[in-house]
């Protein structure tokens, strides 16, 4: 098996293992790009589990992902195995309520956004 196949297998496995998967620059706790941070904050607002895979230093994997999606930039969002571009795509989808519907169908239940407790 050559390297391209190995990368593709790794990507397929990651996408299959995470209902919401973001390929980005940096990690969830330490994003290293404004757009990756923006995407993390975006999904935190929905209250569903999501994973971020850091590919900043992994050029071959970034290349494989770009070829696979016809999308040259990071971050890249996958939901339920399907590519959804970045927040320029899912942002407007959320405004129209389409994304909420997709997430509801993907997870089979409503999201649980973190609630803030106010102690007066």
């Amino acid at each position: 098996m050559d390297m391209t196949d190995q990368l593709q297998e790794e990507i397929d496995r990651e996408i299959a293992a995470n209902k919401i998967l973001v390929y980005g620059k940096g990690t969830k706790t330490m994003p290293r790009c404004g757009f990756t941070l923006e995407t993390i904050q975006f999904f935190e607002g929905f209250g569903f589990p999501f994973e971020v895979v850091d590919v900043l230093e992994n050029m071959p994997k970034r290349e494989a992902l770009s070829e696979m999606t016809n999308w040259p930039t990071l971050p890249k969002i996958f939901i339920n195995g399907k590519f959804y571009g970045d927040t320029d795509i899912v942002g407007p989808m959320a405004q129209k309520g389409e994304l909420q519907q997709i997430l509801l169908e993907t997870f089979g239940h409503a999201g649980e956004p973190k609630t803030t407790i106010n102690l007066h």
Partner: protein, 82 residues
């Protein structure tokens, strides 16, 4: 680093009727807000519209002339997609 004229030319090479508005986000001429209006987007989903534009910028993104793009695609009459 790329100037507005060159960036617009890259997009128009593939999407001839594109009206392109560019904002340099960082003053470094490599992080842009790009708005493209074109009749080529008719009947395409938002993601397909973006893929069409990104295809024109593929080389510039790969060689580093462009680092980041926040993209907006619109039909010539104003509204975006579906």
């Amino acid at each position: 680093m790329i100037d507005d004229t060159s960036l617009t030319a890259l997009i128009r090479a593939e999407i001839p009727d594109a009206q392109v508005d560019i904002v340099d986000r960082t003053g470094t001429m490599d992080h842009f807000n790009v708005t493209v209006r074109s009749s080529a987007f008719a009947g395409k989903t938002l993601i397909e519209q973006h893929q069409l534009v990104y295809a024109t910028l593929k080389a510039a993104l790969k060689d580093g002339r462009v680092h980041a793009v926040e993209l907006k695609t619109l039909l010539p009459d104003g509204n975006g997609h579906d």
